[in-house]
């Protein structure tokens, strides 16, 4: 018969790009199982704090549990510190939460985006057990391998080994970054069967967050 498999890959891709005073976080809205589509309208994005947004692909059951877990912990932080969590603080919390389940991991591939305490854009990228890094941009999920080379080429992130240390955030304007996100999703949708239907794009800047949905190919 075979053992019960606790995991399932629901597919999808997530992307985030950090700018000097904004952050773009985007994810497609297709939920799949095997070669079937379960729904074309499922959000992979969670607003954890007013300047901190999490996009996760992978097993959406674990993603939902992870989002609820983090929201509850954020509320405890708010009660204790009398303020909402900053993005770097949430980044560390997410890493710890993932590693806590090192031996039965959350099957979630996360990208955390938002503004740091100085108002600069920040993006944190994770593996399933909490290893994380602050970068200028990242993609995770089934279409990530198709998107990352394009982002590398367009955003020309300087090597982290350079001295003096160079800023990883892109000098691109907010609208240019959003256009780039739309382009990479359109490209990944062509070849990745799990990516498509719609892309939900959330932009976080000084005045709050703004959300738009763009149609993608549905095949």
């Amino acid at each position: 018969m075979g053992r019960f498999d606790p995991y399932e890959n629901n597919g999808g891709t997530c992307v985030a790009i950090a700018g000097t005073d904004y952050c773009v976080v985007a994810a497609d809205t297709r939920l799949s199982v095997g070669y079937s589509i379960l729904t074309r309208d499922h959000s992979k994005i969670a607003h954890l704090a007013d300047k901190c947004v999490l996009a996760s692909s992978g097993f959406q059951g674990d993603v939902k549990a992870l989002q609820k877990n983090l929201s509850a912990k954020e509320l405890v932080y708010e009660h204790n510190h009398n303020k909402k969590m900053s993005c770097p603080a949430m980044a560390q919390l997410l890493s710890n939460t993932l590693y806590y389940k090192r031996f039965f991991p959350y099957y979630a591939f996360n990208v955390l985006g938002g503004l740091d305490s100085q108002g600069k854009g920040c993006v944190f990228t994770y593996d399933a057990v909490g290893s994380y890094e602050r970068t200028g941009y990242s993609a995770q999920g089934t279409g990530a391998a198709l998107m990352m080379p394009v982002l590398d080429n367009q955003l020309k992130s300087p090597s982290p080994l350079l001295l003096p240390a160079r800023d990883a955030v892109t000098p691109l304007s907010e609208s240019d970054a959003v256009d780039l996100v739309k382009d990479v999703f359109a490209s990944a949708t062509e070849r990745d069967i799990y990516t498509g239907d719609k892309v939900e794009i959330v932009v976080i800047n000084r005045s709050g967050s703004h959300r738009e949905c763009i149609e993608l190919r549905k095949d």
Binding site: K68, A72, L75, V76, H79
Partner: protein
């Protein structure tokens, strides 16, 4: 007469069927500085008189947000109150995690009461020395509960606890019947007036009281539990004092004019004789 023999631990009954340790814990509540709570159908207000240990120190926090829809004001051992607030916050978060809905206020009061009861039936524990006014909003409207160290709790339209709370209770007893239809501003004013009664002559300012409100506006939007900003409290206090002085001035004017008429009467009387 028998108090001293049966008050050593909480698990000893007195011959009259009382638990003296629990009653002593309720005394601790009466020693704390005053707190007042009142509610209408849609809003609940908590107010506390701030007490500072000395002029050099900050005042103790007596009003705590427990969730967006609920908060508490406490009187008694503030440390016990802080720990209970943390417990209440955790209960609200856990309920919302499991049921994706806010914990109804009556259930919140029940959890707190059950926790207090445990401490009245264990020989290695002592009762919590704090009384809490739990105010919140849920689908059935605004609610106010009083939880006492004994584990008992009751729902109230308005209530006051702590030292000199009897003065506030007397004030509230005269006015509570109209509270269901009060606007939020009217509730806040009455809460401040009730706290003023407990100050016994000391001037009420925004630095010696804290006021918090939670409720649902007419259009259905929820105002989450929040302490009202000090400047706004001072504005309300100032407007209350101005309103008091205006009719007082009118009453004084009426008195002096009636006194003049009496004088004329006495002037007229001798001529009659």
């Amino acid at each position: 007469m028998f108090r001293n023999q049966y008050d050593t631990d909480v698990t000893t009954w007195s011959p009259a069927g009382r638990l003296f340790q629990v009653e002593y814990a309720m005394e601790a509540v009466k020693q704390g500085s005053a707190c007042v709570g009142l509610r209408s159908r849609t809003h609940a207000v908590l107010a506390a008189a701030n007490k500072a240990a000395s002029e050099l120190s900050s005042h103790q926090r007596k009003v705590f947000r427990v969730a967006d829809h609920a908060g508490v004001a406490l009187a008694g051992l503030t440390a016990d109150g802080r720990v209970l607030s943390r417990f209440l916050r955790s209960e609200c978060i856990n309920h919302a995690f499991v049921y994706d809905a806010p914990l109804p206020v009556s259930r919140l009061a029940l959890r707190l009461a059950d926790k207090a009861q445990v401490c009245t039936q264990r020989s290695w524990k002592r009762p919590y020395g704090v009384g809490l006014l739990v105010a919140g909003l849920d689908v059935s409207g605004a609610h106010l509960y009083y939880n006492c160290p004994s584990g008992n709790y009751f729902e109230y339209q308005a209530f006051a606890i702590g030292s000199r709370s009897q003065a506030a209770k007397t004030f509230l007893e005269r006015r509570f019947e109209g509270y269901n239809d009060y606007t939020p501003d009217q509730l806040i004013k009455d809460a401040l007036s009730a706290i003023k009664e407990t100050l016994q002559g000391e001037k009420l300012t925004s630095s010696n009281c804290t006021v918090a409100i939670v409720g649902r506006k007419d259009d259905g939007t929820v105002e989450p539990f929040e302490s009202i900003d000090g400047n706004r409290i001072q504005e309300i206090i100032d407007s209350m004092e101005a309103a008091e002085e205006a009719p007082a001035a009118a009453a004084a004017a009426a008195e002096s004019s009636s006194m003049q008429e009496e004088d004329k009467g006495t002037d007229a009387a001798p001529m009659d004789i």
